[in-house]
């Protein structure tokens, strides 16, 4: 936390994302762009989850609810009300932030396993709500009119644009993650993670700090949801609220190293790479989720600090670079 090195830790993460952004541009290949899109999306979501899981120490098993809810709200205003994608992104992000604020007031007083269970409940409740809410199309969801892509020069242009917006959101997620980590607010979150009672005695206003961490971890996923479903062309409940995606995010954060800026990036990279291999392999394609289950088990048992944490512990001189 010494000055001068403050910006060193964010360097590597930014370079990785810049690489992912440039890779399809330089190769000029649409299939590469899809690969990059998937990884960037995972990085943005995992980095956001890390604010709650890694810095604050609260395990959320239902973080994908913010992605789904933000996506639904954003797509609604874009498709049904005819707003621009920019307005849709903003509204989707704010909607998720607001949902997190209200939820936080209610469930952040729970600790440990009780909080984790509550987050699963919230995700399932939201899925049931979307299934029955006519404004959002009920179980069928919403299919985007082709006309919404027109202002952006047609569907092909719009698709390419979503990639660049996603890269922007991912940069934003990393910068937020870094700012939180190196701020006084971040110190209060880390104190809560280490010992919530002691933090409270030392003057950390824990209910407020936890709520803002939750809100901050929800906004970017909401915006990513809007973007993904805008690109996807339709949104429906099982696509928006898949419980297994929440668990995959947990695996990514824990694999790379919770509580660090770089960790979720490495985790997202490694996990998506592994998943890409598994779903195309004849043997693993039907059981790829059980592989991530086993992976989570192994991480928790043998490297609970994740890859970055492990390296930081073994090689202290790397601490400045691996933030």
């Amino acid at each position: 936390m010494k000055r001068g090195h403050r910006w060193l830790g964010i360097l590597l993460p930014l370079l990785v994302v810049a690489g992912l952004l440039l890779y399809p541009v330089i190769t000029d290949n649409e299939s590469n762009r899809e690969t990059s899109f998937t990884i960037l999306k995972a990085i943005a979501l995992a980095s956001s989850l890390n604010i709650l899981l890694g810095y604050t120490g609260y395990v959320s098993f239902g973080h994908i609810v913010f992605y789904g809810f933000g996506g639904y709200v954003g797509i609604y205003v874009v498709n049904e009300l005819g707003w621009s994608i920019w307005a849709g992104l903003l509204v989707g992000g704010l909607a998720s932030g607001l949902l997190a604020f209200l939820l936080g007031k209610a469930i952040l007083r729970l600790r440990g396993a009780y909080f984790a269970l509550a987050t699963i409940g919230v995700n399932e409740a939201m899925k049931a709500f979307a299934n029955n809410f006519d404004l959002f199309g009920g179980p069928i969801g919403m299919v985007l009119n082709f006309s919404v892509y027109k202002p952006y020069g047609g569907a092909a242009q719009a698709l390419s644009m979503t990639f660049f917006i996603l890269a922007g959101l991912t940069f934003a997620a990393l910068i937020i993650s870094h700012l939180v980590r190196t701020s006084k607010f971040g110190l209060s979150l880390q104190a809560i993670r280490e010992n919530e009672d002691a933090a409270e005695v030392m003057g950390v206003v824990t209910p407020d700090a936890k709520t803002w961490a939750y809100v901050l971890s929800a906004i970017i996923p909401g915006m990513v949801g809007v973007l993904f479903f805008f690109k996807n062309g339709h949104v429906e409940p099982p696509l928006a609220f898949p419980l297994h995606a929440s668990i995959e995010l947990l695996v990514m954060v824990m694999l790379g190293g919770q509580g660090t800026v770089l960790g979720p990036i490495l985790g997202a990279f490694a996990y998506q790479g592994m998943r890409g291999y598994l779903v195309t392999s004849d043997f693993f394609k039907d059981i790829q989720l059980s592989v991530s289950g086993v992976l989570l088990l192994l991480i928790v048992l043998f490297i609970p600090a994740g890859a970055v944490g492990w390296f930081r512990h073994r090689i202290p001189s790397l601490r400045r670079v691996l933030a």
Partner: protein
């Protein structure tokens, strides 16, 4: 001297157990008050009531002319009350300096990170932990963790410091060093309440002592008065007149 803390008729029970009953005293600014009593007498419960961890059911607690009885514990910290824990509570995965910075950042002066880092180095120097500043708090030994507790509390620049058994588990040279530190803290104008079992130390540093037994104040006075108080001897050793009484009855 003005009163910094006023405890008025404070009572607290856990189920059927009366942990505190009508505890009442005023603490003048700048004093060291020793709080002693047998195990389970309610000393730590009184600390928890004073700094808002478990608010009392009855009675009022006035800190610097403001009622704080039912405020949350983080409000107490902001108002200038700090404490150490009997069972140390380090933030294990943060460095020693960061631990102390938490105290500085969220205490009375609400410092910025840079200011807190500076204050942390100062306070660590004062309690003798400077060489360990960059170590993880979890890697300290018990005596060092006790000093860390104290450093965190001091970094918040408190008016009132609650010390819960900072000497327990220390060897005699460590006790001597810690006792000096406590006296130095008072020199800075900080009022102290200390719970202690090490009698020699508490008798040496306290201006005044209160004895609790089964949640009640059984005696109050200077260290000399307390040492010769029959009720205190009875609470610790049993009734000193018991043998005589039995002889008379026989």
């Amino acid at each position: 001297m003005s009163t910094i803390l006023s405890i008025q008729q404070v009572s607290k029970h856990f189920g059927g157990l009366q942990a505190l009953l009508n505890v009442t005293f005023d603490l003048p600014e700048g004093q060291i008050l020793g709080l002693i009593g047998p195990n389970g007498a309610g000393k730590t419960t009184l600390f928890n009531a004073i700094n808002g961890v478990y608010p009392p059911e009855e009675g009022r607690i006035i800190f610097r002319d403001k009622e704080v009885t039912h405020l949350k514990t983080y409000r107490h910290a902001r108002m200038g009350m700090a404490r150490t824990h009997q069972i140390v509570q380090p933030l294990n995965d943060l460095s020693v300096r960061e631990n102390v910075m938490v105290g500085a950042c969220f205490g009375r002066e609400n410092m910025s990170l840079a200011h807190a880092s500076h204050t942390a180095d100062e306070v660590l120097e004062f309690v003798g932990l400077s060489p360990r500043a960059d170590q993880l708090a979890g890697s300290l030994n018990v005596a060092q963790k006790k000093r860390l507790e104290m450093a965190r509390a001091l970094a918040s620049r408190p008016y009132l410091l609650l010390l819960d058994e900072v000497l327990a588990g220390l060897n005699s040279s460590e006790i001597e060093a810690m006792t000096k530190t406590v006296l130095n803290i008072r020199e800075q104008g900080i009022t102290i309440i200390m719970i202690e079992h090490v009698m020699k130390a508490v008798m040496n540093v306290s201006d005044r002592i209160i004895v609790l037994d089964y949640g009640q104040q059984i005696a109050e006075g200077t260290p000399e008065e307390i040492a010769n108080h029959p009720k205190v001897i009875e609470a610790y050793l049993g009734d000193p007149k018991l043998a005589e009484k039995l002889m008379e009855e026989g």
